[in-house]
Subunit: 153 residues, 2 copies
DNA sequence: GTCTATATTGCAAATGATTTTCGATAAGGA
DNA sequence: TCCTTATCGAAAATCATTTGCAATATAGAC
């Protein structure tokens, strides 16, 4: 079932209506397959010649969350804008974040997943979800930092 | 070493200056011992008769982060305001949280720490910190849920 | 202590993301 | 097709955060 179909089901079980704009936004998000922001979607649709107003996208977001299609990403964009992510029915993933440039890499490390279950079992917990963020400096930024230091010296 | 002392060291190794406002803000945060927001600090200091302007608090925040005293909390406040948290200097630990009763268990799992380094290396990142929250239901709550279900049946 | 350079403050204005208002339009059931 | 009302776009309103600026305060030099 595609994200669009998923939302159509949600619409059917409510008094919401299916519109051209909602379809465009959902397809844009589904295609994105990662983190996205409102301004990003607006820009992308605009460049494709099917502009949708920012206020409209902002109004669609809460419905997509309610429908279980997306959720807030644990970290905002490099600037202050709220980022969202598709909730895949596919495998869960964690985040590796560069605190200097804001790059976000999604990864899945099986050994971490297993170790988490181990910890939960040890304390008698039944796990529902988790949230792992690794913060650091990406390779490109490391190089920029060194460059800058050398020049200043 | 108190948070205030820690910041004083930081100030000494820079061209920053120690001021009444910075001292007030840091002590307010240190006393808080949990999540906090800019507006919360402003309100608290105001009610204590030692008001500090919001813009001043906003300007102190980046210095506290740089000094390693605080960091952004992974989740913003209930409304849209950015939340921060004190970074404890004691041993690093992760959190196992019961979403039903709110119990928080702190733990350290070596295999997880090592696996994180592995992921960072794979992507060329230099790690600075991380943030792991396991969410679930603790044993006690699991039992209560079962009890309740049986009674309702 | 006094002097000086400049870091810091508070206020007000600016910015930028998000929300809301409102008149026009369009979805979908009758 | 007709009607009800959900939805849209544009502009105004909000709200958190940032910035410009003139007044003040800190820390080091003397």
């Amino acid at each position: 079932m595609t994200a669009l179909d998923q939302f159509k089901n949600f619409v059917a079980s409510s008094k919401l209506r299916m519109t051209r704009e909602r379809e465009l936004v959902i397809q844009s998000i589904a295609m994105h397959e990662g983190h996205f922001t409102v301004s990003g979607i607006v820009r992308k649709l605009q460049s494709e010649g099917s502009a949708v107003a920012p206020s409209t996208v902002y109004r669609i977001i809460p419905h997509l969350m309610e429908a279980g299609l997306i959720r807030k990403a644990p970290q905002a964009d490099a600037d202050g804008e709220q980022a969202y992510e598709l909730i895949h029915r596919r495998e869960h993933h964690d985040h590796l974040i560069c605190d200097r440039c804001g790059e976000v890499i999604e990864f899945v490390e099986e050994s971490i997943e297993r170790a988490q279950e181990k910890v939960a079992a040890k304390y008698g917990y039944k796990l529902k979800k988790h949230n792992l963020e690794l913060h650091g400096v990406c390779r490109a930024c490391q190089e920029k930092i060194i460059e800058k230091a050398v020049r200043a010296w």
